[in-house]
Structures are given as structure tokens and as C-alpha cells.
């Protein structure tokens, strides 16, 4: 038992070294304090100010999109990514900023969809809406 604990502690300590080295290597590629870097977030007010140069993407499931959504928003969720992406892309142009939202501050769908748009569709100006759909609804009141 003592031997197992001693060995476990040694392994736990050994794994720290490459993890730190990798962390240093990735230090500028990762946001350490927030899952979404501040530069990739946009407030409702700011997104509204973009007006026609913004294109809205709803990352929530189909049924939630069907109930209600930001006027003019395109549905693009990971459940039906391969069907929805080809419908979205013809509406995008390089001059437009993409604003992705999901249900609320705590959801991750917008972050994941935004990442895929950058990685797979090579779209640069992709932003995640702070507070998501809930925040957008509040701004309407």
C-alpha cells in the first residue's frame, strides 16, 4: 500500500514537468482566465451597432431556433453541422462579422460553433455573443 502511494506520488509529480513545458509552448495560444478570449467576445450593444455588416448564427438546437431567434439569424448547430453549414456559407462574405450565440452565458455551443467556423470554414471575424440569447432578449425589453 505504501509502495503504491509512493509510486503514485512520483507519477503525479513526473507528469507536472511536461505539462508545464507544454503550457509554456501554448502560452499565447490559450486563454487562461476565460474559455473565450476577450477579443473573441462581443456584447449585444456592440453587435447591434454592427448592423448589416453582422451576420447572426444561432448555435442552439433546432427546436429552440424554431421557437424564436434573432431576426435574420441562421441556424447552425453541431447536431446538423454538415447540412446547415452549406446553407449558411452562401450568405457570408469576407466583409461580414459573424456573431454566434447559444442559450446563455453558461452554454458552450456558441464557442464550439465559432471555433469550427474559424477552423473548418476559415472565417476570421467570428465572435461569440456575451450572455447569448438570454442577454439578447433582455436588450429587447
Amino acid at each position: 500500500m505504501k509502495r503504491a502511494v509512493r509510486q503514485a506520488l512520483l507519477l503525479l509529480a513526473l507528469a507536472v514537468l511536461p505539462a508545464i513545458a507544454e503550457g509554456i509552448y501554448f502560452r499565447n495560444k490559450v486563454s487562461w482566465q476565460s474559455p473565450i478570449p476577450a477579443s473573441e467576445l462581443v456584447s449585444v450593444d456592440q453587435a447591434n451597432r454592427w448592423g448589416g455588416s453582422a451576420i447572426w448564427v444561432d448555435a442552439r438546437p433546432d427546436d429552440e431556433f424554431a421557437q424564436d431567434h434573432v431576426p435574420g439569424a441562421f441556424s447552425l448547430n453541431e447536431d446538423h453541422w454538415s447540412e446547415l453549414l452549406p446553407q449558411f456559407l452562401p450568405n457570408w462574405s469576407p466583409t461580414k462579422k459573424v456573431v454566434v450565440y447559444c442559450s446563455a452565458e453558461s452554454c458552450n455551443a456558441a464557442r464550439d460553433v465559432a471555433k469550427r467556423l474559424r477552423d473548418e470554414a476559415q472565417i476570421k471575424d467570428v465572435f461569440v455573443l456575451q450572455g447569448g440569447w438570454e442577454e439578447w432578449l433582455k436588450s429587447r425589453k
Binding site: 509502495r3 507528469a15 490559450v30 486563454s31 474559455p35 464550439d112
Partner: protein, 145 residues
Amino acid sequence: MAQVAEMKYVWRIVDLIVGGIFVYAGVLKVLDPVQFANDIDNYKTLPWFVSVRLGFYLPWLEIFCGLALVSRLLYRGGLSILTVLIAVFIGATIAARARGLDITCGCFGHASQHWSFPQHMAVDLSILIALVALLLANRDRSVEL
């Protein structure tokens, strides 16, 4: 006596398979630690600053523990850590499911992204059973270091 020797080989094969699985899973995550941090964050259990640090640390821990099983160096320590890790992971997955979270496992990179909950559980429980079996089988056997 021959049966004991045979079982020794069987357990050794289980060591190699389970150890190999963890090394493979760890390497996939090391290649994309930010994605793994996102996967941890999806469980909504830990704050981001913890998730992102675990995203860098846990894959290396998996690799070292997997190598411990394969090489039989620091064997008992590696086996104990992996058993605790997989048990915690199963518990977290069940808790996330109970809270209605649709989480991505991220255990084996993109390959496991579209696994259903029963598929997650089947794989994880199989690994847990193998690890517990190894713990019991090696209880009385002398192993290295």
C-alpha cells in the same frame, strides 16, 4: 502450476492493452490540450482556470501511468491512479447526464466526439473492470520497484 503461468500471460496482455489505451488517449489529448480543456469545461463542474490547467496536466498523467502498466515500472502507482481517474470520470459523466448536459467525452479525440452516452459508459466501465481486475490479480504478485 501451468495454469498460474498461463494466467500470468493473460494479465500481462491485459496490462499491455489497458496501458496502450491510456497512452493512445493521452497522446491524442496532448496534441490538442485546449480542446481537452473545453471538454472538461463542458462538464460545468470546475472553473475554467482549473479546467485549462487540467487540460495540460491530465493527458501527461495518463501517458505516464499507461507507460507504467506497459513497462511494469511504478506499476502499482500507475494502476491506482488510472483506477481513480476512470472512476472519477464515470462519476462526472453520470452526474453531467443527470443534470441534462449533453457532453462530449473527448476521451479519444475526434473519434469519440459522437459517441452516445451508453457507448461512453460501455467503454469506461470495461476499462474500469479491467483495472480493478488487474489490481486484484497483482495484489499478491511481486512487481518491480
